[in-house]
C-alpha cells in the first residue's frame, strides 16, 4: 500500500467496484496530493475511467471510502456534497458539452447556477476563461457541433474551470488531438495549474503528457494501484507492464 500522504486532497481507501460478475476495482487505495498533477495510467479497460467516475460519484462502489477535500462523500449530506461539487471541475472524455447551448452558455451554466453575478461579469469571465484555454472570444457564439475536436476539449476545460475549482479531473484530455495540439494542451494544463494552484487528476494514455505535465504517476492494474511515484520511479520499476510501457518502442521515441 502507498504510504499515507498527510495533505491529501483525494483519499481513496479500499474501494471495490463490480459490473455484473467482473470486478473492475478491487480494494484500491490512492492519495492525491494538494497542488500536484497526478497522471493516471494503465492498460485499456483496466478501469481508469471507472475510478474517476467512482470518485466523482457516477459509479456506485460496493465497498471502501472516498474522501475529497477531507470530506467523506458517503457520509456527507446533500448540501456538503454540493459544496464539494462546486469545488471540483470535470473534463469528460468526449467533452460532454451541452449540445443545445452555445459555448458561452456552456461556460456560464455552472457559474449562473452557483453564483448570483451580473451578466456583464459572466460575459467577461467567459472571455477570460476562453482566453486562458487558448480560444478566441469569437468562439463564444458557436454551438458545440460547430467546433473541432481540439476546440471541444478546450471549451470543456474552460467549463470545468468556470467556477475556479481547486481540483480538476481530466479524462484523457489529449486523446484525439494531434501531437502539437496535445503538446499545447499539456502546456496549458501545466500553466493553469501554476496560475490557479490547481490539483489535477489526469487519466491519460499519452506518454508525452506523463513526461511533460505530470508531477507524479499512478498505475492501475488488476483493479489495484500497482505503482505510484515519479517518472524516474516508473522507469526503474521491474513490473512487466510498466517495463513494456516505459521502455517500449513509443516510450523510447518520446524520450528521444
Amino acid at each position: 500500500m502507498a504510504p499515507e500522504i498527510p495533505d491529501a486532497i483525494i483519499r481513496v481507501r479500499d474501494i471495490s467496484v463490480r459490473f455484473g460478475t467482473t470486478k473492475v476495482l478491487d480494494g484500491l487505495n490512492l492519495d492525491v496530493k494538494r497542488g500536484e498533477i497526478l497522471g493516471f495510467v494503465g492498460p485499456s479497460g483496466a478501469g481508469k475511467s471507472v475510478l474517476t467516475r467512482t470518485i466523482i460519484g457516477l459509479v456506485p462502489k460496493i465497498s471502501g471510502s472516498i474522501e475529497v477535500f477531507g470530506i467523506d462523500l458517503d457520509a456527507a449530506n446533500a448540501a456538503a456534497r454540493r459544496g464539494v461539487e462546486r469545488r471540483w471541475g470535470i473534463l469528460f472524455q468526449q467533452g460532454a458539452l451541452f449540445s443545445s447551448l452555445t459555448v458561452r452558455q456552456n461556460i456560464q451554466f455552472p457559474v449562473r447556477e452557483y453564483l448570483n453575478v451580473s451578466q456583464r461579469l459572466l460575459d467577461e469571465i467567459t472571455v477570460a476563461k476562453l482566453g486562458m484555454v487558448g480560444l478566441r472570444p469569437e468562439v463564444a457564439g458557436r454551438f458545440p457541433s460547430e467546433l473541432s475536436g481540439g476546440m471541444i476539449k478546450r471549451v470543456a476545460l474552460a467549463r470545468a474551470l468556470a467556477l475556479d475549482p481547486e481540483l480538476v479531473f481530466l479524462d484523457e484530455p489529449t486523446s484525439g488531438l494531434d501531437p502539437i495540439g496535445a503538446g499545447d494542451f499539456d502546456e496549458l494544463v501545466r500553466t493553469l495549474q501554476r496560475t490557479l494552484g490547481l490539483t489535477v487528476f489526469m487519466v491519460t494514455h499519452d506518454l508525452d503528457s506523463l513526461y511533460t505535465a505530470c508531477d507524479r504517476i499512478a498505475v492501475l492494474g488488476n483493479g489495484k494501484i500497482i505503482a505510484a511515484g515519479s517518472i524516474a520511479d516508473m522507469q526503474a520499476s521491474q513490473h512487466p507492464w510498466l517495463r513494456q510501457y516505459f521502455h517500449g518502442k513509443r516510450a523510447r521515441a518520446v524520450m528521444g
Binding site: 452557483y114 453575478v117 472571455v127 477570460a128 457541433s145 475556479d164
Partner: protein, 414 residues
Amino acid sequence: MLARRNQLWLVSDRFDKAVRERPDICFRTANQARGGHLSGDPRLERIAQGEGLALCAAGNWTARFAPMLERIVSDAEKLRGSRPHIFIDVSQVSSLDTFGAWLIERLRRSLSDPSVEAEISGLSANYSTLVDEVRRVGAAPKVSADPLSIVGMLEQIGRTVAGVSGTVIGLIDMLGAVLAAAANVLIHPRSFRLTSTVHHLEQVCLRAVPIVVLITFLIGCIISQQGIFHFRRFGADIFVVDMLGVLVLREIGVLLVAIMVAGRSGSAYTAELGSMKMREEIDALRTMGFDPIEVLILPRMLALVLALPILAFLGAMAALYGGGLVAWLYGGVDPEAFLLRLRDAISIDHFIVGIVKAPVMAAVIGIVACVEGLAVEGSAESLGQHTTSSVVQGIFFVIVMDGVFAIFFASIGM
C-alpha cells in the same frame, strides 16, 4: 525601473500606515456595514493620497464572494477622474482566483485614463502569474444582442415560407431515393435486408397491436354509444350500425391508426436515424460503400407499408366489435341483428376504400420520418425539434392524403 520599484515600495509602506490610521472611504456590502463583518469577506478601502488615488484590497477575492466583489468594484469604479497617480494595493488579499483577479483588472482598466495608467501593487509572486494571465486574455466582450425588429420578423416569416417548398422537395427527393433503392433491390434480391425488415415489422406492427386494438375498440364503443343516444330520439337506433360500419371501415379505422403509427413509429424512426446521424454512423455506412437508404430506410419503409394495412384491419375489427358490444349492452341491438344490418349496410367497396389508403399513408409517414431523421444536426435540441416536426408533419400529411382520397373515391363513385 529601480526608481519605480522604490516608489511602489514607498506607496505600499504608506498604505500600511494609512490603513491602520484612517481608512478614508470603505467600500463594503450592506451586510458588513450592519456590523456583520467577517474577516474573510472581501473589502476595498480608499486611502488618502493627496492628489492621487490609492485603493487597498483585502480579504478573499474569490468566486465564492463574486456577487459581493462585483458590487464593491462597481462602486469603486465611480472614483474615476483625472489624477496624477492611481494605485491598487492587493498585498492584504488573502486569496485570489480568476474572478477576483479579473475584477481587480477591470477596476484597474476603468480607473485608468489615457494620461495615467492605474497600477496594481503588492502582488505576491504566486498571484502575479494569474493577474498577468487575466490581463493578457481579459477583454470586455462585445455582446451584440439581436434587436427584435419588424424587418427581422418579416425575414423570419419569409424564410419559413420559403422553407416549405424545401420540405416538399426534400420529401419528393426521399421518395425517389427510396423507389430507386427498391428497384435496385428488385434487380439484386440478395442485397435485400430481410432480418432488418422483420425486426422493424415486429417493432411497428406486432408491438403496436395491443395499443391500436385497445384505442380503436374504445373509439368504436364511443361512436356506437353517441349514435344510439342521438338516433334514439328519432327511433332510428338500428341506423347506428350503418353509421358505425361506414365510418369505421372507410375513415376512422385507417385514419386513427395512421395517426397513432405516425406518433409511435414515425417518431421512433426520426429519433433512431437522427441519433445515428449525430454520431456519424450514417457517414460511416456511406464510407464503407453502403447506401444508407438501402440499409436503413428501405427496411423501415417496407415494414411500415406492410404494418399499416394490418393494423388498420385489426383496428377496424376492434372498432366494429366495440361498437357492436355497446349496441347490444346499451342499445339493445342483439348481435344477430347487428350482423344482419351490417351485412346490408356495407359492401366490400367500403372496406377496400379504407384499406387501400393504408399503405399510401404508411409511405407518407415513413418518408417524412426518414427525411426529418436525416436532417438532424449535432445537438440534442435539433433531435427533439426534428422528432416533433416528424410527428406533426406526418399527421398533417395523413389527413391531407385522406382528403385527397375522399375526393377521388367520390368522383369514381365508390
